[in-house]
Structure formats: C-alpha cells, structure tokens
C-alpha cells in the first residue's frame, strides 16, 4: 500500500522535473508495478472476504498438539480428516461449536457435532478406547440433540484410560474437510472453551 502511494506521489509531483526518456520509462514501470501490487492486494482481500471464519473452541482442557502426534495411523494420517489433538488435563468434554449431535458412539468414547454450515467435528477420547466398552465414560447428551457451544457433552475416567487403553491423547477431527479452505490451530496449553482453532469455509 505504502509503495503504491509513494509511486503516485512521485509521479504527481515530479512531472515538473526534467527527465530523459529512460527515466520516465523507469518511473512508468514502477507505477505499473505498484498498481499491479495493489490489484493483487485487493484480489486477496476479496478472496478472503468470500470465506467465513468459524472459531472452534477447545473441547477438553489440556495441551493442544499436532495431529501427527496421535499414536494411531488412521488419525495421524488424516485419513478421516484434518484437525488437532489434545493431551487432556481434565476429564470433561465440552462442545466446540453450536450444532447437533450427529454421531454418538455406543461405547461412548467418541462424539461428532455438526453445525448449521455443515462442519462436523469428531471428538475422540483417547486411542483404542473402544476396547473399554464404555467403562468410565458418561454422556450427557443424546443422538440428534441440539447443543450449544461449551455445553457439557461427556466425561471420562482418566485413570482407567491411562491404565487400560493405548493412549489418552484425543484426536479432534474436522470431518468433511473439503468445505474447509483453511485451518489455523492454536497449539499449546489451553483451558476448556478457549479458542483452539480458526477455520475458513467457502461461502
């Protein structure tokens, strides 16, 4: 932006100075460059304006990690979609978005919420926790129920998972990620319900 105005300024206020052809030509190209830059800027702004930003709040208090750190290939390889992982420091799961409970695993170790833009988030407690067959898990919502952001969805027993399942690390997956154009994850220690990610979806 600054360069653009500088060039226009220069062009406007240097017409009085004597110039030879090559200098004028050089200035023309500087102005052209600046105009092109501005056009690109506008284009990028317009493109970004065509996206909607959705904040995804942290469902479980803990450390937000890269998905590749999940000790399970199906999740780490993003086969189910992109996302992040949480190393929990509490045992309660809150809804990351407003939406509807689309999937509730019978063994209560995973739940998927879908919002009205069609973004579906899978919260999967631990790895290989299916083998617990529900032990230590409690659900507070039911399939098809409308939920609000930060609403308490489930709770689990940290000790049981640590002792009997493969890992406590919990993948959070954006299912149907083809709608999502950009994902920004905020890694590090986060309280529950703090912003964990920002996603951009096409309008």
């Amino acid at each position: 932006m600054k360069k653009f105005f500088q060039s226009i300024f220069k062009a406007l206020f240097s017409f009085n100075e004597a110039k030879d052809k090559t200098e004028e030509k050089a200035e023309d190209s500087v102005i052209l460059e600046a105009i092109r830059e501005k056009q690109i800027e506008e284009k990028v702004k317009n493109e970004n304006a065509a996206f909607q930003e959705i904040a995804i709040d942290n469902p479980i208090k803990g450390d937000i990690l890269n998905l590749s750190q999940v000790p399970d290939e199906a999740f780490a390889s993003k086969a189910l979609g992109d996302g992040f992982a949480i190393n929990p420091q509490d045992n309660k799961v809150y809804s990351p978005i407003d939406g509807v409970v689309k999937v509730l695993f019978p063994t209560k170790h995973a739940i998927a919420i879908r919002n009205e833009q069609g973004i579906e988030i899978l919260v999967h407690i631990g790895i290989d926790t299916v083998s617990l067959n529900g032990e230590g898990f409690e659900t507070f919502v039911s399939l098809g129920e409308k939920v609000k952001k930060h609403q308490l969805l489930m709770s689990f027993d940290t000790k049981i998972i640590e002792n009997k399942a493969k890992s406590l690390i919990s993948p959070i997956i954006f299912v149907a990620s083809e709608k999502i154009k950009e994902i920004n994850i905020y890694y590090g220690k986060k309280e529950e319900n703090m912003k964990a990610a920002l996603i951009k979806i096409a309008n």
């Binding site: 290939e73 199906a74 998927a112 299912v175 149907a176 990620s177």
Partner: protein, 275 residues
Amino acid sequence: MNDYVIKKVLNNNVVIAEKENNEFILIGKALGYDFGKGGRVPENRIENIFVKHTANMGSNYKRVLESIDSKIVGVSEEIIHLCEKEFKSKLSNAIHVSLPDHINFAIRRIEKGINIENPFLNELKALYPKEYNMAHKALNLINEALNVNLPASETGFICLHIRAAITETDVSESLAYTKKIGDIIDIISKLMKKNINSSSLAYARTVTHINFMLERVKTNKTIRNLLLESIKKELYKEYDIAIKVAMKMEILFHVKIPEDEIGYIALHLKRLSDN
C-alpha cells in the same frame, strides 16, 4: 442400388462403407478380406453397423479415422462389437472415439518405453468383473492384431473405457469412483491395523460389499438390520471401526449411511478379522 459399397478397408473384419450417400462402419467376419475396396457387401454378412456421422460425434470420429492407423480403428470396432454382443446392449457412441484414441496412445507410450502403472487393477476386477473380462479379451485381440505387447495394466484402462461406455458415463467418473473405493479400503486397513492383501478374495469381497452398499444407500433399499442391537453390543470394536468407515464414505460419496448399514459393515469387518 441399395448395397453397401466399401470405401475403405480398416482390417479383415471391419470396413467403411457407403450406402445412399451415408457412411457406415460395418463389422462382419472377413468383410474386408472377401470384398475389398469398392466391393459390395451383402446384408447377410454384416454383424454390426455403426453410423459414421452421429450427431455429436461427427468431427471427432473423422479425426480418429484420419489420424489413427486403420488397423487400430479396426480392432477397436471389433472389440466394441464383441462387448455389445456380450452385454446385449449398445455401447455409448463416445467409445468409438475414445477406444482407438486410447489404444493409439498406449502403443505410442509403450514404444517410447513409458509405462503407466494402473494401481486399481484389483478394485476394477472386483467392481466390474464382466467389463474386466472383456477388457482382458480385448487386450489379447489388440496384441495379436497389431503385433504389440501391451502390458496387463492396460486391461484396467480398457476396462474403464468399457465400463464408461456401458453406463453412458465418463471414464473419469469411473476412475474417480474406483479411486474412492480404494480410499475406503485403505482406511479400513488402517483402522483394523491389518493389511488386506489386494489380490485376495477378502479384498474383492470388501470392495463388492462397499459397492453394493452404496447402491442400496443411494436407492434407499437398505434392509432393516435385525441384528443391529446385538452387533452394537457384541461386536463393539468392529462397530466402532464401521462408524468411522461410514463417516469416510459420507465425505467421499456425499451420502448418509444409515445405522443398519453400519451394522452390516461391522459384520463384514468381523469376517475380515476372523480370516
């Protein structure tokens, strides 16, 4: 006279003929051999007729005839004729252009030593067994008639062309579908922590199961799963994987998989893990 007069011989069995100012491709045993250019073809010798200037095909087909070796066009027409006999239905017009085009490119590629792998041979075999079988026959015909050695991977590509022509879709559609099926098998392997040997019966069966399941889901023909509650309880591990597989399918195929089907998937997975 109302006869077909041969304008050009493509090969022993395939000729371009003119009748009442219209041009046709005629296929019949030894037509080219017995009658030659200028010869009149009796109707009782004709096994199949292809109208040369079909509405949206005219210029493309002309290009094919002009730029591709007539032997290639000839064997393509024979293959199409064989398929139409086998499937008892006419193939989409597009294959009269796409098949000779493909064979031509394949031969050029092999000559240059460029080998394109077909990673979906097993899926194609399981998904489209009839078309695959015809493609295999086609490959032999091509290799014999043109004195070339097209590799087995070509069977897959020809299979896709035949499939597209039978179902009046694009080759790219069939290929995209095949790739998606491959993705589903891939995620099943990852979730079950078990590599399903791609040439095994188990693999073929899984592909078939997914294929038919998609059909049922798309046409709303899912049968109520009376064992569903039992499956959720007893086969809870397989059901967990089945839910995830269903999620992947919903993304890839834009369908909603009902619980009954998830139950059937779980049953299938149990069979897979037992073997």
